[in-house]
Subunit: 464 residues, 2 copies
């Protein structure tokens, strides 16, 4: 981004904003320039950036900066911190300060915070909230992890169908400031969700119309127990700003907003990618996960795959005499298994991603296999020929060997591509996560079939 002097009068460039660095804040604290710091924090700092910037602060520094923030910014910054920082900060705040933070936070953030805190801190936080909020919190904490209920916000604007547009705008005026998202209002009758109205609609319609006349009754919604990923995908597919969440009696209980949906999708993608690499996903980020937890999440697949590789070994031992006669045959094995593994993982990855973005489903199985087989045939032709030429040029074998390796490679590639595209779809069909059918498992299976095919062909060709 280029700089431009003229605009500095009014605006604050992304790069310039970074000038309020960790070092500068610490220096201003040291020099007790509190007023100046307070002003800079107010004008040039976003809560999410501030939380990141303070991650190495001591408790004392954290509390000092926190006390300079306006109420709303303080609550938002608190919500953006990681759990260690929060715990440290809570330890340094007075009860009344804590009360203010709890009052300002949106309820879904409060619940997130509580879920990560040790019991004694939770008690202290709950003491700092009023009775009504406490009840709402307890209810939210009961929804299963990863459910719509666990990510929803209970603050939204509810209208009645008899209200006029003017009444509605007045109601937004009165209660809107405390609601996270006011841009979609929900029409309820005896708590049941019966319609919705965009604020855009309210602002562009005659003030005397009633809500019933303008409300949209073709509703999209989800239940509290629905999976959060499903909810996020509905929001993404239909380009919504928020999705209403209802209980089993169709009573409105909250909304999930688009920013939460984006976060859910990012988390779910990280989870998928981890599983695809043979790592059990964890809720914590890379650095937040301890060495022991890293070992625990990576070991199961490694053990399983290592032991599965025993099959390959048994097959090879069976052909020990062939290897004793022609030891140069072993040299081709890593290249053959490597190529097979790569071909298989290309197919499985594309299919896994296709399933997760909703393009491919089980019904497409034969369509996918047909496509992969054609791709495999073309690729194996090219690779076999190139590799055959290489073998002869580099003097690693004669034409017979080149043909044998080429034949093995062609079979391997076709098998790898078919296995690679089939397994994720089968997993999906039986209700497993397709992501487990990714590279590590596919490449072990492909290893086994490659070695079998290789030695079967070699034995036949060279009568070993």
């Amino acid at each position: 981004m280029e700089k431009n002097d003229e605009r500095e009068e009014y605006t604050y460039d992304n790069e310039e904003r970074e000038e309020l660095t960790e070092e500068r804040i610490l220096q201003m604290l040291d020099e007790r320039k509190f007023k100046e710091l307070k002003e800079e924090l107010e004008n040039n700092m976003y809560p999410v950036d501030l939380a990141e910037l303070m991650k190495d602060f001591t408790q004392k520094q954290l509390v000092m900066v926190f006390r300079l923030l306006a109420k709303e910014e303080a609550a938002e910054t608190f919500a953006e911190m990681d759990s260690d920082m929060r715990e440290m900060l809570i330890g340094g705040l007075t009860d009344s300060e804590l009360e203010e933070v709890m009052e300002e936070m949106y309820l879904d953030d409060t619940v997130d915070v509580l879920e990560e805190m040790p019991a004694n801190v939770v008690d202290r936080l709950l003491m700092a909230t009023d009775e009504e909020t406490r009840q709402q919190i307890n209810q939210l904490l009961q929804y299963p992890e990863d459910s719509a209920g666990s990510v929803m916000n209970v603050d939204y604007i509810a209208l009645r169908k008899e209200m006029t547009v003017a009444d509605s705008i007045l109601k937004i005026r009165q209660v809107g400031l405390n609601k996270e998202t006011i841009y979609t209002c929900y029409v309820t009758e005896k708590r049941k969700l019966i319609g919705m109205v965009d604020v855009k609609e309210l602002l562009t319609t005659s003030e005397s119309k009633t809500i019933e006349e303008i409300m949209d009754t073709n509703l999209l919604y989800a239940h509290t127990t629905d999976d959060q990923e499903e909810v996020a995908q509905i929001i993404s597919k239909y380009d919504l700003i928020a999705l209403p969440i209802v209980d089993h009696e169709m009573c409105m209980v909250g909304i999930v907003t688009v920013d939460d949906a984006m976060e859910v999708l990012e988390e779910e993608t990280t989870e998928d990618i981890s599983i695809m690499a043979g790592v059990n996903p964890s809720d914590d980020s890379y650095f937040e996960t301890s060495v022991l937890e890293h070992v625990k999440s990576r070991l199961p697949w490694l053990l399983f795959l290592m032991l599965s590789a025993t099959v390959t070994q048994m097959i090879m031992n069976h052909y020990e005499s062939a290897l004793a006669v022609m030891p140069q045959l072993a040299g081709f094995i890593p290249m053959l298994t490597g190529t097979g593994g790569n071909c298989g993982s290309q197919s499985s990855t594309l299919v896994i991603r296709g399933i997760s973005v909703g393009e491919i489903e089980f019904g497409d199985l034969f369509k996918v296999i047909f496509k992969e087989v054609r791709v495999a045939v073309l690729i194996s032709l090219i690779l076999s020929v190139v590799n055959g030429i290489r073998i002869i040029i580099m003097g690693q074998g004669d034409v017979m060997i080149a043909v044998t390796i080429g034949l093995t490679m062609a079979c391997t590639i076709v098998i790898a591509k078919v296995v690679g595209c089939t397994l994720p779809l089968l997993a999906e069909k039986v209700g497993l996560d397709p992501a487990i059918m990714a590279t590590p498992l596919i490449s072990t299976l492909v290893d086994i079939s490659t070695i079998s095919v290789y030695f079967a062909i070699v034995s036949a060709v060279f009568s070993l």
Copy 2:
């Protein structure tokens, strides 16, 4: 989702909506029940679902359904179709119908459509738009692919700082209906962006205040030439509904909305995942990509990796005599390279994802290596012991062999984890996409080091 009779009076369940299936629409067309179909389409169908449902329709069927839609729905449905459907539909519409569609579409959608159409269709579409729109379209088409300019919308609400809140609401009333997102208004002065106001703010402030008093001047924005992924990440990080896009003179030219940001992030993730599997990403989805294009996108990495595997082969050929004496040594190779490859891909995948969500950066290199080395040491201890026991129980070797394999495995795992976590960070540092340092490349590199280490240790232990 469970059914509940009471609510059907008002609402339409996700499942019930699906009742308007492809078959039912075709049947209603056959029976010429146009009025009924029109009503159902109006009340129970979202454009994105309708587009999906009609993907196997003939041109005649497509045009018949399309003509039943209200103007706005027609334009939205058109925007959701894939390029083949659009081309087919355009061929069946009259010029004046086309004009109506073009008029109703948001400009960013129009540009998307035009980018995918053959030249003759583009000409016809441009003929159907008015002069002013055509100029705007031409300007948008000039922004580089994947830039903020190419995904932005030029419709937004601009206010002046002298306006009062009441004036502003009036302005929204007048022009708002045609704007995609009205919830953030931008304050401009001589076209330069100087502030922004949330509609929430407008609705909850005294009507006599001026915009200058309430506008936020701590602005987030991006330039037309910025990468679309960067823009999407700013929207995600700061929980925005839209981000203003400015040119190099800080003049406001458009906005990118949160729904476009979600789409960009999904595309970019698909791209990353493809690259991580050794597939050059394409703009088209799995089925839209032809067999030849699939071959073209998968072949380069396969060729490169196959030829790299030659190095492994050369090392093994060097130890041919050792293999002739102890052919059972070859049997351990697939297990060793497999385990090494899996360990390496676990580390590289976690680091690549950490980089792409912004948790890990080059400065963390040593912190990451230190963590991976500790993880590697623990994992190699466990795997070596388990594998040693297996070797002895299954009679695949004596204690000497078990120790040799264990030692090789430990070295391999440490090397794999260090290489796996280092390469993505180095790639990031030199401006390459870290995703290319994923499983395929890592496992080839790890193969080479595994084989080297294995034969070095074997030669030393058994003096071969």
